[in-house]
């Protein structure tokens, strides 16, 4: 696992009797749906081998057997709490392949849904981060406040998390009546709530002493490893697809992308929090600028055929840049769908960050990489 240019950690090749091999996962409160094989020398991790694939469900293969519309339900399953965002690049790419131009109102609604979903995702992430740090309240508060937005999404789409809302050609249904008011009310309250986390979590001295200066990912390594999203922005690189390559109507909205310099677990855990506040801003802005009425969906022919060629689209999801690469061969089904998921791209950083760290830092570093195993496995 060691590389010539990265700090080698404690490179120990021969099996020393002080070294113990520990399986963390798949049934482990601190592993999620994966296994990490770590070797520890006392308190220090000397080798680490992530073993994902416990939720590998073959989405990419299945996508080759379904047409562009019917691919929607299963392609959103890898990250059901960020399901709008994981569908987004697929929908954008297939719209380009199918040659569709979607209505303006649908674009705004998509942006709102995607930002709401980003918050939902981050709140869940934060909740688990709390659990991983042994902070049960920090599980409960985000998990509860997240329900405010889930309630909104449910009003909007009819499902709590698996919305199947975006579809090639727009969105499935229009907003319900007086959605804007409810949305504003709950988003405002939500923003108030997340600011409460500062005292018990983000400015808690114990948390800071525990996460600051651990698992430092330098700027160079962040680039070299091709990490993305909050991991990247915590290392001081201002790269957000929403800003750099705006899709739909992001170029008309007013927001910023937070960047921190330290590159440690603390910075990585703080970026999403700041992101959520920006998301609230975007939602309010978009609600204001949205056309108040109009069509939201382009009617498709049954079994539309994509044109020959390939498309690569990317968006910024809750975890980072999410790309979708579709190859089409003029059939109703795509020839190949490849999701380039941020979790998988961030996984590569895990061995590098874990080696040489304390065992106690493992959960916090692991989860601060913004890794969602189901997505990485697809």
């Amino acid at each position: 696992m060691s590389s010539p240019t990265l700090p080698p950690g404690l490179a120990i090749q021969k099996a020393d009797e002080r070294i113990m091999t520990l399986n963390v996962g798949p049934q482990h409160p601190g592993s999620g749906h994966m296994r990490i094989v770590v070797q520890i020398d006392g308190d220090q991790i000397v080798a680490c081998d992530p073993d994902p694939g416990y939720v590998h469900r073959g989405e990419e293969k299945m996508a080759e057997y379904r047409n562009y519309t019917l691919n929607v339900p299963h392609l959103e399953r890898p990250v059901i709490h960020d399901s709008c965002n994981i569908l987004y690049p697929y929908v954008l790419a297939s719209e380009e392949l199918l040659g569709l131009e979607i209505p303006e109102r649908a674009k705004y609604i998509r942006v709102i849904a995607s930002e709401l979903n980003r918050c939902i995702y981050i709140q869940y992430w934060l909740a688990i981060y709390g659990i991983f740090l042994g902070h049960s309240t920090m599980f409960m508060w985000p998990a509860g406040d997240r329900e405010l937005l889930i309630d909104l999404m449910e009003k909007m789409t009819g499902a709590r998390v698996t919305h199947s809302y975006f579809i090639p050609g727009g969105i499935r249904n229009d907003l319900p009546a007086n959605f804007e008011d409810v949305c504003l009310r709950q988003v405002n309250y939500f923003e108030k709530r997340i600011k409460e986390y500062a005292d018990v979590f983000y400015e808690n001295p114990i948390l800071i002493s525990r996460t600051a200066n651990t698992g430092v990912l330098t700027r160079e390594n962040a680039i070299r490893l091709g990490t993305t999203g909050s991991v990247l922005r915590a290392s001081g690189i201002d790269y957000d697809v929403r800003k750099k390559e705006p899709y739909d109507v992001y170029d008309e909205l007013d927001f910023e992308t937070p960047v921190l310099k330290d590159g440690d677990s603390y910075a990585r855990s703080r970026i999403p929090w700041l992101d959520m506040m920006e998301s609230c801003r975007i939602i309010r802005d978009a609600l204001q600028k949205m056309p108040k009425s109009g069509s939201v969906r382009v009617k498709l022919k049954p079994n539309p055929k994509g044109e020959l060629g390939s498309v690569y689209k990317r968006i910024e999801s809750g975890r980072g840049a999410l790309g979708c690469y579709i190859v089409s061969d003029k059939k109703p089904e795509p020839y190949r769908v490849k999701l380039s998921v941020p979790s998988f791209r961030n996984l590569i950083a895990m061995p590098h960050l874990l080696i040489g760290e304390k065992l106690g830092n493992m959960p916090s570093i692991y989860w601060s990489l913004n890794y969602w195993p189901v997505e990485a496995d697809r």
């Binding site: 049934q27 749906h33 590998h56 299945m62 890898p78 509860g144 329900e147 998390v161």
Partner: protein, 205 residues
Amino acid sequence: MEQWRLLYNNQGGEIFGSYLYKSKLQLGGTNLIKDLVTPQNANVFVGKLGDILEKAIDKPLGYAINWGRIWSLWPVHIETACCSVEFGAASSPRYDVERFGIIEAFGSLRQCDLVVVQGTITRKMAPRLRLVYDQMPEPKYVIAMGACAITGGLYFDSYNVLPGIDGVLPVDVYVPGCPPRPETLIQGCMLLQEKIKRMKARKFV
């Protein structure tokens, strides 16, 4: 010394037993013990006693123990796929399964009694799931949560997903949905409580 050693090695029991059996306790010319303590008689006697005891002890004790089991279902912390998100939501403040005595995020599987199979079981996961189930102490219950765990759901034609977990674990309650709403999960837990109530706790006698 020699006899004692005989008594306690493997055949010792036999000698000891037959010594009692063939003892000279005789009454009126018949071998009392031999006649009275026949296997049949013993069975009848024990059966009668058992009936009485069952009425007196089994029912109330079984009721009490079942009551305890109902209100203290501790799910094991095994996340298998995306349904775990909604499982987490079920213990969030909004749905708070702790009202029913279900504590989520419990540490070790040795103290748990409920496996909530939270979604897709892939081929790689199945043996591990089984191992986790095997290592849990009795009694243990299984809830299949989500379409994937019940039949494979969306992934009915995927190459790496099992079509439901019936082949792996004995399922008690099926909770459909993709993912099931926390309400549905809670309803499933209530069904499980119903089921436990009707189960026999254990034959004590």
